[in-house]
Amino acid sequence: MQAFQFMRANSIQHAIGAAAHASTAQQGASVRYVAGGTTLLDLMKLDVEYPQLVIDINRLPLGEVEHTATGLKIGALVRNADLAQHPVVKRDYPVLSEALLSGASGQLRNMATTSGNLLQRTRCMYFRDTAMACNKRQPGSGCAAIAGVNRMLAVLGTSEHCIATNPSDMNVALMALDASVVIHGLRGERQVPIGEFFVLPGGDPQRENVLEPGDLITHVLLPAPPAGTRSHYLKLRDRASYEFALASAAVAVQVVDGHIQHVRVALGGVGTRPWRSPEAEQALKGRAPNETAFTAAAEAALRDARPQSQNAFKIELARRCLRHALATATA
C-alpha cells in the first residue's frame, strides 16, 4: 500500500468536487471513493490501486431503501447484508436477495455496499499481481491470463486484450431486474440503465464502466416487476460457500396462460461484464416454459462463447445452470 490522503465527504457535492480533478475514474484513478472498502483496500494493499486521495463517503445520507410508487430506490451505501434481508427485496426481487447471499461471507456482506458491489473488480489473478502483464492494470503490457491459468476467466465478451471475469453476483441479478444506476456528477444527475453501465473490454480493458471523474453513484433503482414475475438466482462453484461463481444465472420470468410473457436472463461468472442474454430471452418469449425451451435458451445464451485453454467446461456448466434456474423459477 502506498501513502495517500484521506478525507471524509460531508455532502454529495463535497465528494464530487473533491474527486472531479482526477484524470480518470477508471483503473489507476488518483481519487477513489471508499464505502465498505472490501475491494478497494484489497487492491491498494496489492498496489493494484494507488489513489493519492481516498474520500470516505460513509457519512453521506445514502443508506436507505425506499419503496416508491414505481419500485425500489436503493441507497448507494445500503450494505449487502441489509439489502439481502430487506422484506420487499425478499418478496418482490428474490433473485437479488439470493444473489447477494450467495456472495462472499457474512462478514464481507456486512461491509460491502450496493454501489461498491457495482464497481467490484475482477478476481483475475494476473490483474491482482503487479509482477504480471495485464492490459487492464497496465495498458499495453499484454494479457498473461490468455496463455496462463484461466480456468476462472470469461468465455463471453472477451477480447484479445482481456478475458477478465466480472465476479459480482449482485450485478447479475440487477441485470435481470432492469435496474438503473443513479449517478451524480459535475453536470448534475443522470440515470444509466444497468445494461449500459458496464462496457466490454475491447481494446481498452482498463475502462470498465461509464463513470467519469467526480461521478458518484447515489442510488440503484429497481422498477416494480411485472405482475406474477418469479425470479431466481443459481450459482455454481467448486465448493459450497465463499467462492466466486464458475457460472451463475439470474432469471426473472412472467408466465401468462402457460406462455412466457416477460423474461430476463443474465449470466454470471462467464462474462467480462454481468451478462444479459437477449438471445436467451428471445428463445423463451412466447414459448411454454418447458425443458425444450430452456435448452434452446441455454444454447442461444452460450452460442458466442469463446473458451480459453482451461475453461471450456464453463460453457456446458453455464447451460446447465441456466436450464435449472429457469426450471426452478417456473416450477
Partner: protein, 744 residues
C-alpha cells in the same frame, strides 16, 4: 470401542476439554507474532519476481530514504549466515539449506532478495515495494507432468513383481497424480527475534523448538547455549512449520545487525512461495490378482518434484509394503527437478498421496473383479508385516473394515454405477483403508510436586494446536492423582528439558514413558519425606505406602491419608522435582521384532446432482485403530479436522504455477480453495481403542495424521460409484464430472 473410561484410569481415555482452551477463546494465548518489545522494528522481505536466473542490479537508494526505514539488508550487508551440512545425522533438519541472500542466484519465484527494516509494518512494506531489482531471467520449468530422468530408489522389494504381474489373470495398470498442495494454517509464519549482544531469543512459529534451536545457532554462528527458542502457541502447522525457513534467519540476522528486536510476519502470498509445500506426485500402480481377488503382485513406481538444490522426497510408499498380503511387491521412487521452491512435509507425508494411488487402484481392481471393495481388502489382510517378516504390534484393520461397513450400512450398497438415488440426486458410496507410522522420539520430562498441592510438568516440546498441553496434564494427573486444574504445563521453550518435535504423530507416545518416570521419581521423593523421622509416616517402609487421588496412605488403611503437598510442607520442602528420560523407540529391545503402525478405514457418501454438476461430500464413517486414545475429545478433533482437510485434498486444493513466470499464481485464500464449513460432511468417527503396549506403558500411538490418509481415495471411489468417472488426478473437478454419462 471407546467408552468413557475403559482403562479404569480416571485421567486417561475420557473426554477432557483443552486446559489451554480458555486462554485461546479469550485471546490471552500469546502466539509468536503477538510478542512485542521496546524498540521493536518490522522487517518485510523483498521477493524475487523471476523463478530462475540471476540478480544483475539492485537499487535500494530510493527505498532507504523512505519514512521510517532503518536499513535494507541485501547480500552485501546481511552479515555472516552459515550453511549447515546436508548430512548431519538428523541433528539439524531444514528443507532449504541455502542461507537467505547467500548469492545472486534465483532458484524460485518469491525467493527473498532483500529485507527492509522500518519502524512500522506499513513503512517497511511500502519501502520493500520500492526496492528496484533487475534480473537476468531464464525460462523456468514448472511442468507438473513428470518423466523418469534420474535414478530411482527401491524403497521396498520382495518376490518377483515382473513375473507376478505378467502372469496375473486380472491386472490394473494406471497412473495417478496429486498436485502441489500448500499448507494454509490460519497463523502465518512469523519470527520475533531479539539479541542482547550475546544471546538470541527467538519467538518462532515452529513445530520443533529443539531442532530450530540447533539450526539457528549453527547458521547464526553461536553456540546452542546462546540460542533460546520460544513457541507457546501455534495457529497450526500441518508440517509446514517443522523446519526453519529463511525468513527466520532474516529476522535474527537483522536483530543481530541492528541490535533491535525484529518482527517479521510473512504474507499469505509468501506462504505459497517461501515456506514449503507438499510436492506433486505421479504414481504408476500395477496390481495383479487372481480371480478370487488375491493380490499376486503390487508395484508402485512414483515420482515427485523437488527444488533444484534439494532432494526432498515425498515417500509415497510409506504405507504400501505392509498394507496388504502379496508375495511380490516393489516400490520405487524418483525425484524430478523443477524450478519451484523447496518442498517440505505436509500432514501424513508420503502416505497421504501414496494411499490415494494405492487405494484408488484397489478400487479399480475390485471393479475389474466385480468384487466388493471391502471384501477385496479383507481377502488380502496380512497376518504379519510381510515387508519385514515381523508380527504387527497391534493391528485391527479387519475390524476397521467390518465395523465401518456395519456402521455405514455398506450392505445396502448397490455396486452398479449411478444406481443409488434420492430424487434428482445420485448417491455414491466409496471406501478406502489407511495406515500411518507409530514411533517414539527421545523425550526428557520433569515433573515437580509443590507444597501447595499443585504440580508442574516441563519439557521442551510444543503444542501445535493438537492438545499436547492437555495430554501432558492428564498424564501427570494420572500418575500423581493431582487434578487437572492444579497442574501447570510448561512447554514451548528450549531452555526446558529437551522434548520431541511435533511431527509424525509422535508426541503423545513419546512423552508417556518419560512423564511416568518423572512423576514416579517425584513421588519417590515425597515418600522419602513422608517416612523420614518425625514425618507423618515415620517408621513406615516406603513400599507400605500408596498414592491415590493426590494423597498418601498406608496400604490397606481406610483413612484419609495426607496430601502430597502437606508432606512437603511438613518437611519444609517448597517442591520436589523428578526427572524422566526415554529413548527413541528405534532403540527398544524389540524394535526390530515388531511392526508399529496405526490403521483405519473411511466410508464415504457423496451426492451428485448431474443437472447442475454439483458434487458434495455428504457423510463419512471413519474407524481408527490408533492405539489407546488418551483424550477422546482432542483425538476426535484431530481426526475430524484431518477428514475435512481430506475433503479439500480430494476436491479443491491445488497450487497452480504459471508456466511462463513460474509463479504460484493462486497464492491467496480466495483462489486456493480449501474446504469451508459448508463443505464439511456429517462425520462419525470411532476409535477402536486397543492399547499398543509394545510402544509405551499406556499403549498410545498417535492420531495427528492418519485421519487425512485415505480420505481422498475414498471420495474418489465414491465419485466413481456415483458418476462412472474415474478421476486419477487430484483434485476432482467439475470439468472431470461433466464427462459423466449418468443422468436422472
Amino acid at each position: 470401542m471407546l467408552t468413557s473410561n475403559p482403562s479404569g484410569m480416571p485421567f486417561i481415555g475420557g473426554r477432557f476439554a483443552r486446559v489451554d482452551g480458555p486462554l485461546k477463546v479469550t485471546g490471552r494465548a500469546e502466539y509468536s507474532s503477538d510478542y512485542n518489545f521496546p524498540g521493536l522494528l518490522y522487517a518485510v522481505p523483498v521477493c524475487a519476481t523471476i523463478s530462475t536466473g540471476k540478480i544483475t542490479h539492485m537499487d535500494t537508494s530510493h527505498a532507504i530514504k523512505m519514512p521510517g526505514v532503518h536499513e535494507i539488508f541485501t547480500r552485501a550487508n546481511i552479515g555472516p549466515l552459515q550453511r549447515v551440512p546436508k548430512h548431519n545425522h538428523g541433528q539439524m533438519i531444514l528443507d532449504e539449506h541455502r542461507p537467505p541472500l547467500a548469492d545472486d542466484v534465483i532458484r524460485y519465484w518469491g525467493q527473498y532478495v532483500a529485507v527492509v527494516v522500518a519502524d512500522t509494518f506499513e513503512q517497511a512494506t511500502a519501502a520493500a515495494r520500492r526496492v528496484h531489482v533487475e534480473y537476468d531471467a531464464h525460462t523456468p520449468d514448472v511442468r507438473m507432468a513428470m518423466t523418469t530422468g534420474g535414478k530411482t530408489d527401491i524403497d521396498s522389494h520382495r518376490g518377483d513383481t515382473q513375473t507376478g504381474f505378467s502372469t496375473a489373470p486380472v491386472k490394473i495398470d494406471q497412473t495417478y497424480s496429486t498436485p502441489i498442495e500448500t499448507h494454509n494454517p490460519i497463523e502465518l509464519h512469523a519470527s520475533v527475534a531479539t539479541w542482547d549482544g550475546h544471546n538470541f531469543t527467538l519467538y518462532e512459529t515452529t513445530q520443533s523448538i529443539m531442532n530450530h534451536r540447533r539450526v539457528m545457532a549453527a547458521m547464526l554462528g553461536v553456540p546452542v547455549e546462546r540460542m533460546r527458542i520460544v513457541m507457546k502457541f501455534l495457529g497450526s502447522g500441518f508440517g509446514g512449520k517443522l523446519w526453519p525457513w529463511p525468513h527466520a534467519l532474516l529476522a535474527a540476522a537483522a536483530a543481530r545487525n541492528l541490535e533491535r528486536p525484529i518482527k517479521l510476519v510473512v504474507s499469505r502470498k509468501m506462504m505459497f512461495e517461501d515456506v514449503g509445500h507438499r510436492p506433486n506426485t505421479q504414481q504408476r500402480m500395477r496390481l495383479g490378482a487372481d480371480h478370487d481377488g488375491r493380490l499376486l503382485s503390487l508395484q508402485q513406481d512414483y515420482l515427485c518434484s523437488t527444488a533444484p538444490n534439494e532432494n526432498n522426497k515425498e515417500p509415497c510408499g510409506e504405507a504400501t509394503p505392509f498394507l496388504y498380503s502379496t508375495p511380490n511387491l516393489r516400490v520405487t521412487g524418483g525425484l524430478v527437478r523443477r524450478d519451484i521452491a523447496p518442498s517440505t512435509a505436509m500432514r501424513g507425508p508420503g502416505a497421504v498421496p501414496g494411499l490415494f494411488a494405492v487405494e484408488s487402484a484397489m478400487d479399480e481392481l475390485a471393479v475389474a473383479l466385480d468384487m466388493d471393495p471391502v471384501q477385496l481388502r479383507q481377502r488380502n489382510e496380512p497376518k504379519i508385516d510381510e515387508s519385514r517378516n515381523v508380527p504387527f504390534s497391534s493391528r485391527h484393520m479387519s475390524e476397521c473394515l467390518s465395523e465401518g461397513a456395519k456402521k455405514f450400512g455398506w450392505d445396502k450398497r448397490n455396486p452398479k454405477i449411478g444406481s443409488m438415488r434420492e430424487g434428482d440426486t445420485i448417491l455414491g458410496w466409496g471406501m478406502a483403508s489407511c495406515a500411518w507410522m507409530a514411533a517414539r522420539l527421545p523425550a526428557d520430562v520433569s515433573v515437580e510436586l509443590h507444597a501447595d498441592n499443585t504440580a508442574r510438568v516441563l519439557s521442551a516440546t510444543q503444542d501445535i494446536g493438537t492438545g499436547t498441553y492437555t495430554v501432558l496434564a492428564q498424564l501427570v494427573a494420572e500418575y500423581t492423582g493431582i487434578p487437572l486444574d492444579r497442574i501447570t504445563v510448561d512447554i514451548g521453550d528450549s531452555k526446558l528439558p529437551p522434548g520431541p518435535l511435533s511431527g509424525g504423530s509422535m508426541v503423545t507416545a513419546s512423552v508417556i514413558p518419560a512423564t511416568k518416570q518423572a512423576a514416579e521419581a517425584a513421588l519417590h521423593q515425597v515418600m522419602q519425606a513422608a517416612t523420614q523421622p518425625g514425618a507423618a509416616f515415620a517408621g513406615t517402609a516406603m513400599d507400605e505406602l500408596r498414592v491415590e487421588n493426590g494423597r498418601v496412605r498406608r496400604k490397606g488403611d481406610a483413612g484419609n491419608g495426607r496430601s502430597l503437598g502437606s508432606i512437603l510442607a511438613d518437611a519444609h520442602l517448597d517442591r520436589v522435582s523428578g526427572k524422566g528420560s526415554s529413548k527413541s523407540s528405534s532403540k527398544d529391545a524389540d524394535a526390530d521384532k515388531l511392526s508399529f503402525h496405526s490403521y483405519g478405514t473411511h466410508f464415504v457418501e457423496v451426492r451428485w446432482q448431474p443437472r447442475i454438476a454439483r458434487l458434495r461430500v455428504h457423510r463419512l464413517v471413519t474407524m481408527i485403530d490408533g492405539g489407546r486414545i488418551i483424550n477422546e475429545r482432542t483425538a476426535r478433533n484431530q481426526i475430524e479436522g484431518a477428514i475435512v482437510m481430506g475433503v479439500g485434498m480430494a476436491l479443491f486444493e491445488q497450487t497452480e504455477y504459471d508456466a511462463r513466470s513460474g509463479a504460484p499464481i493462486n497464492s491467496n485464500l480466495a483462489d486456493y480453495l480449501v474446504a469451508t464449513h459448508a463443505d464439511q460432511p456429517a462425520l462419525d468417527v470411532t476409535f477402536l481403542d486397543y492399547p499398543d503396549y509394545a510402544l509405551n506403558p499406556l499403549g498410545a500411538r498417535g492420531v495427528g495424521e492418519i485421519g487425512l490418509a485415505g480420505v481422498a481415495p475414498a471420495i474418489a471411489n465414491a465419485v466413481y460409484h456415483a458418476t462412472g468417472v474415474r478421476v486419477r488426478q487430484l483434485p476432482i473437478r467439475i470439468e472431470d464430472l461433466l464427462q459423466s454419462r449418468v443422468s436422472v
